[in-house]
């Protein structure tokens, strides 16, 4: 049983950190489809940073700086250049995936996986069977709780939500929606750096090209599934990890009787169902959004 919990926590923790990044952006009114790109930057920088500097803290610092810079670039393009957030986010994802491949090729001369001598500090034998987990796993529930406090119980969080839902109202109480979004994306950048670092350096200590494999998008799905509530979305992300871990286990136990790929499809089907249901419950049709702003007439 313990090894299942360890497996779920290992795969769930990176996803939950990145989901929190998506939640804070969603609250501020930005659909962040750049999560995948930010996560791979975090993963790549953490491992490459450890290899090059020999220090975990230094590698983490560089990862956070790069993820925050990428997030600020996204903010600039969306807020200052009025770009479409969805297309710009997908662009940032591509930039992250391509940029990390290019950087690894430039530094190591090949696209092969990079192995670090050590990773994120572990909890240690004091935690018994869970000692193999990294400190980020232990910090994760506190991060989710802190996000809940920040978004639901502070003036900052309320202003952030107002900036997302009704920018005019936010402005009327003296908040600057554009600056609130910048803050949201910077917080998200830090969280994506941690999530990416945990993915690459949490247990395996290895970075491989495109190793995020859609986890950033899965985090986005968790944000939507959890209605951008920090705890709801964290549980959605956890649910996705449980399905993934069970899928692998089912394959080990029953072989091909349970098609693994179809089990992996469950989170996406659940997200579609959840979004459809929440629309039904809220009632009314969404007003047709003219994507007129995409074009110039």
């Amino acid at each position: 049983m313990n090894d299942i919990i360890v497996a779920i926590l290992r795969s769930g923790t990176p996803l939950i950190y990145v989901t929190m990044a998506g939640v804070v952006a969603q609250r501020a009114g930005i659909w962040n489809l750049g999560l995948e790109g930010l996560m791979i930057i975090g993963a790549c920088t953490a491992i490459v940073g450890i290899v090059l500097t020999g220090s975990f803290a230094l590698a983490m610092l560089i990862a956070i700086i790069l993820c925050v810079l990428a997030s600020v670039l996204l903010w600039f393009v969306i807020e200052k250049l009025k770009a479409n957030p969805i297309i710009a986010g997908l662009g940032l994802t591509g930039l992250g995936l391509g940029g990390t491949s290019l950087a690894v090729q430039a530094i190591f001369g090949s696209q092969a996986a990079v192995t670090a001598p050590f990773g994120v500090p572990k909890l240690g034998p004091a935690f018994g069977p869970f000692g193999v987990l990294s400190i980020f796993v232990l910090a994760m529930p506190f991060a989710v709780f802190a996000m809940w406090v920040l978004l639901r119980r502070t003036r900052f969080g309320l202003r952030l939500a107002a900036s997302g839902e009704h920018p005019f109202a936010a402005r009327s109480v003296g908040a600057n929606p554009s600056r609130m979004r910048l803050a949201a994306l910077i917080i998200g950048g830090v969280l994506c750096a941690i999530g990416g670092a945990e993915l690459a350096a949490g247990s395996l200590q290895i970075y491989a090209q495109n190793m995020t494999a859609g986890r950033g998008f899965m985090a986005f799905a968790a944000v939507i599934f959890g209605a951008a509530h920090p705890i709801g979305s964290a549980f959605a992300a956890l649910f996705f990890s449980v399905v993934g871990a069970l899928g692998i286990r089912a394959q080990l136990l029953f072989g091909d009787a349970v098609p693994h790929d179809l089990l992996l499809a469950l989170p996406y089907i659940a997200t579609v169902f959840g979004v459809w249901l929440s629309g039904k419950l809220r009632g009314g049709r969404k007003a047709a959004t003219g994507f007129a702003e995409l074009r110039d007439y």
Partner: protein, 345 residues
């Protein structure tokens, strides 16, 4: 200066900004930016035989992008081209498997019908959810892409698996040579004719039919179109179906032409590139044709770079991504620059 010209110029300015960002990234990663752009241009257009290769990639991209343009025009943000493309390829592959042994003049049209139907059906459910319950099509089509990707992995490792394949990557049994519509270089009269037919049909649809005009109006102002007596519902669903069918057609072409078989996760950036093409072309059909050649060139350069120039193909991914980052941008500064041009003109 006409509005159209201004918007083309604005697009070009942002593409230059995007390329400058790429240059900074290349330089930062330790490559010579100028050398990189030179190799990309050479790989795309200036080496012998480059144009054939670029067209090979451009034609399927054009077909998908023309469909994406239709649904964007109608105001639906269908980003599910990748999934619809996969479903087209999968349905065509099942049809080919089912009819295996029948004469080519039966199998090939049947596969095309199956592919287009598959793509259209994969666009139908997000369309229905959107129009019936207002479920956001961005989420449903995005999830649809992942579902289609998993389905592709499943069928290539399961029902359609080639038992003789090596363990590296599961793929389907190769399509019999009699049913192929091109060799693996991927440029054949059949494909060119299909792309030309799509181009003419889409141009007529957008510019010369009530549907095209109303769909474009619906994208800008659905209320007005409703008051004029058009059914937004029907317009919307048709635009989803057309964009899905075209992406499915492109999937069928890739399966029956250059690839000749399905592999798990093949051409994973096709849909994203097609969306990019539609946006760069500002959703015009003629523009889409020209822009497709540019991005087709980049796609062929992605294969050329690592082999001939010893440079990583990720460079192309970065160029595409940087263009995506900036292409929908509107900047007061750029507009002021353009306004200066307008006064002097």
């Amino acid at each position: 200066m006409t509005g159209k010209f201004v918007s083309v110029l604005r697009g070009l300015i942002f593409i230059v900004i995007a390329l400058a960002l790429c240059g900074v990234i290349f330089q930062f990663a330790g490559y010579s930016a100028l050398g990189m752009f030179h190799s990309v241009a050479e790989g795309a257009f200036f080496r012998p035989g480059a144009w054939q290769q670029s067209l090979r990639w451009a034609l399927p991209l054009f077909i998908t992008a023309a469909g994406v343009g239709i649904s964007f025009r109608a105001g639906y943000f269908n980003i599910g081209a990748q999934g619809q493309f996969y479903l087209g390829a999968i349905c065509a592959a099942f049809m080919a498997e089912w009819l295996n042994g029948a004469p080519a003049f039966v199998v090939i049209p049947a596969c095309f019908a199956a592919g287009m139907t598959g793509g259209a059906l994969w666009a139908l459910w997000p369309g229905l959810l959107r129009l019936q319950s207002g479920t956001d099509e961005v989420i449903t089509t995005l999830m649809g892409n992942f579902l289609a990707g998993l389905l592709l992995v499943y069928v290539t490792a399961g029902p359609l698996k080639d038992p003789s394949g090596s363990g590296q990557q599961a793929s389907s049994r190769p399509l019999a040579a009699a049913y192929r519509i091109s060799d693996s270089l991927g440029l054949s009269p059949t494909i060119i004719v299909i792309a030309a037919l799509v181009a003419v049909a889409m141009w007529l649809l957008v510019n010369r039919t009530a549907f095209g005009v109303l769909a474009s109006l619906a994208g800008r102002n659905p209320t007005m179109v409703q008051w004029q007596g058009a059914t937004v519902w029907r317009l919307g669903l048709s635009s989803f179906l057309i964009s899905g069918a075209l992406a499915g057609l492109a999937g069928t072409i890739e399966f029956m032409g250059p690839n000749g078989r399905l592999a798990g996760g093949f051409l994973p950036t096709h849909g994203f590139t097609a969306i990019l093409i539609a946006l760069v072309a500002n959703l015009s059909v003629v523009g889409t044709a020209f822009v497709s050649v540019f991005f087709g060139g980049l796609a062929s350069a992605a294969l050329y770079l690592p082999i001939m120039a010893g440079l990583p193909s990720a460079a192309i991914e970065i160029i595409n991504a940087a263009i995506a980052l900036f292409i929908t941008a509107k900047s007061g500064f750029v507009d002021r620059l353009l306004a200066i041009g307008r006064r002097s003109a």
